[in-house]
């Protein structure tokens, strides 16, 4: 039991979240009965249609908002516990959708330094952390540039560096690629996967691009504030029709396999990537 709680990064215990409205009858229930946990080192994808509650969920994990019912534990700390507020935000960093609206400083390296400065880290150590974080996202060459001169993908990598400099154990990505062009998306996804693989960072990736989470450890599907599916990518994407019903797509190759099967061609239904498809077709 003790061992099990030790490796838990995030524990969401049967939570409900209501956006209050002046008129109580119009209160919006954003999340209801959501219950899951994320282990250290895991890469979990969270998908859902607009209004499924996925952004609300991300803010609950970072103690920006608090559940109306139930508890959220980050590394064993309850987000409702004001005492641990800053520890929680330091442990579970968060990268947002709009790269422009999360960069604070006029110079790249100063922006990366913003988090550790807030934590009261000594100046020399901040310097080291900033250099390390910029190296991890491969943006050292831009340390003295102004953020507005960078591309969307570069800005988002700076935002990631800003979180890394706080030395979190877990990073929550709230649709970080939604506003980027395809090359920016590739850059950011490569960075996120590298963090999970090489730095053993726990990653929670909220997105509506299915292709970004085909190699996730686990996928959680939200619809209308409830978890409707949970499991490995192979298991989730098999349910092509069920996903389409709640307004979600499946990865292109899975869809192709689905269409081929409909036409009577005998092919696996859990194909995710082009490589798998090639292998399956060339058998």
């Amino acid at each position: 039991m003790i061992n099990e709680t030790k490796k838990r990064m995030i524990d969401v215990q049967n939570i409900q979240f209501i956006y209050p409205h002046a008129n109580e009858e119009e209160n919006v229930i954003a999340l209801e009965g959501v219950d899951f946990h994320i282990d250290k080192g895991e890469f979990v994808g969270i998908i859902g249609h607009n209004g499924s509650g996925k952004s609300t969920l991300s803010k609950l994990l970072n103690a920006i908002i608090f559940p109306t019912k139930g508890d959220v534990l980050v590394n064993g700390m309850n987000t409702k516990d004001r005492e641990h507020l800053w520890d929680i935000r330091q442990t579970a960093g968060m990268v947002f959708q709009n790269p422009d609206n999360q960069l604070v400083a006029t110079i790249v390296e100063e922006d990366v330094a913003f988090g550790p400065e807030n934590l009261g880290v000594p100046p020399l150590e901040i310097r080291e952390r900033v250099d390390r974080a910029l190296a991890t996202v491969e943006m050292q060459a831009y340390a003295h540039q102004k953020p507005h001169q960078l591309s969307g993908g570069q800005k988002q990598r700076i935002a990631i560096a800003g979180i890394l400099a706080m030395e979190p154990e877990c990073i929550i990505f709230d649709e970080p690629t939604a506003m980027l062009d395809p090359s920016g998306r590739r850059e950011v996804m490569a960075t996120i996967k590298k963090l999970n693989r090489d730095k053993n960072m726990t990653v929670i990736h909220i997105t509506h691009y299915m292709s970004e989470i085909i190699d996730a450890d686990r996928i959680i599907v939200l619809d209308k504030g409830k978890i409707v599916m949970e499991g490995t990518p192979e298991k989730i994407f098999k349910n092509v029709l069920a996903l389409k019903e709640i307004g979600l797509d499946v990865p292109q190759m899975t869809e192709l396999a689905f269409e081929l099967r409909k036409e009577g061609i005998d092919i696996r239904d859990n194909i995710l990537s082009i490589e798998e498809m090639v292998a399956a077709l060339c058998q």
Partner: protein, 273 residues
């Protein structure tokens, strides 16, 4: 006209003046501005002129560029000169119609004009040689010495740096909105002032809405990065006084003493004391 205002712009040349600690430059400029109002004869202004000339030469900023900063203020200077020239009672030295120019008026007008010009040049040398970030850091430090303002020093500096960060973003956004409205047939170029001002509304409304949304998202992002005001906050870049700053303080001391000394000079220059 707006293009002519050089106050507040940064002109990097990498000179020794640029390399001075922003705090040194702020203190120096403050001392300069204060002392400017103590000077009461032309000897003093001559000395100020010499001092400014040397500093500008050292800063390697083109003189023309600095002088352009005064162009925007010509109207204010002229108004001050004319009012003082004609409205000061005293010994009449010339008359234009019903208006009399007095000796005292001529003196005050000259002094006011010189004061304004030197004031603008002096402060623009500071902003031209200091990057906005350094200036903000320097101001955060200097605000600690002003009672009442002290408590908000960090917040004010943070606001200033966020404003600086978002100026280019909002400019881009304005440009985008303008193009979008133009594509729908909006006209910003013709018509009288009132109709042009009215035409700006379809730009301002979306710009404000988006600025508020940005502010909201930025605040959330800052909180998520553990921002909680200035308390217990550290800085990666610490301001450090160097040898050149000490030299600058010596010059400042000489300037203050020297300029105060000129007020004792009793030999009249141009105007009888």
């Amino acid at each position: 006209m707006l293009k002519d205002v050089t106050i507040g712009q940064y002109y990097p040349t990498g000179s020794i003046i640029h390399k001075l600690d922003p705090r040194t430059k702020i203190l120096f400029t403050t001392a300069f501005v204060v002392i400017l109002f103590f000077i009461n004869n032309l000897w003093g202004y001559l000395a100020v002129f010499g001092l400014l000339a040397i500093i500008i030469l050292m800063s390697k900023i083109p003189v023309g560029y600095i002088l352009r900063g005064i162009k925007g203020l010509v109207l204010i200077i002229l108004l001050t000169v004319i009012l003082n020239l004609f409205m000061t009672p005293g010994t009449i030295i010339a008359s234009i119609g019903p208006f009399n120019i007095t000796m005292e008026g001529a003196k005050i007008a000259t002094f006011m004009a010189l004061r304004l010009i030197f004031l603008v040049i002096g402060t623009s040398v500071m902003t031209l040689t200091t990057s906005p970030i350094d200036l903000t850091d320097g101001m955060e430090w200097s605000m600690r010495f002003i009672p009442f303002v002290r408590r908000f020093a960090h917040e004010l500096a943070m606001m200033m740096s966020i404003a600086l960060r978002f100026i280019p973003t909002l400019m881009e956004e304005t440009d985008r909105i303008m193009k979008a409205q133009k594509a729908r047939g909006a006209n910003f170029e013709t018509g009288n002032i009132i109709s042009r001002a009215k035409n700006l509304i379809p730009i301002l409304v979306p710009l404000f809405i988006s600025a508020f949304r940005r502010a909201d998202e930025l605040a959330t992002a800052m909180e998520a990065r553990c921002y909680r005001g200035g308390e217990n906050r550290t800085r990666m870049k610490q301001l450090v006084f160097a040898g050149r700053d000490v030299a600058a303080f010596v010059v400042m001391f000489v300037m203050v003493v020297g300029l105060l000394a000129t007020t004792m000079i009793n030999i009249p220059l141009l105007f009888p004391v």
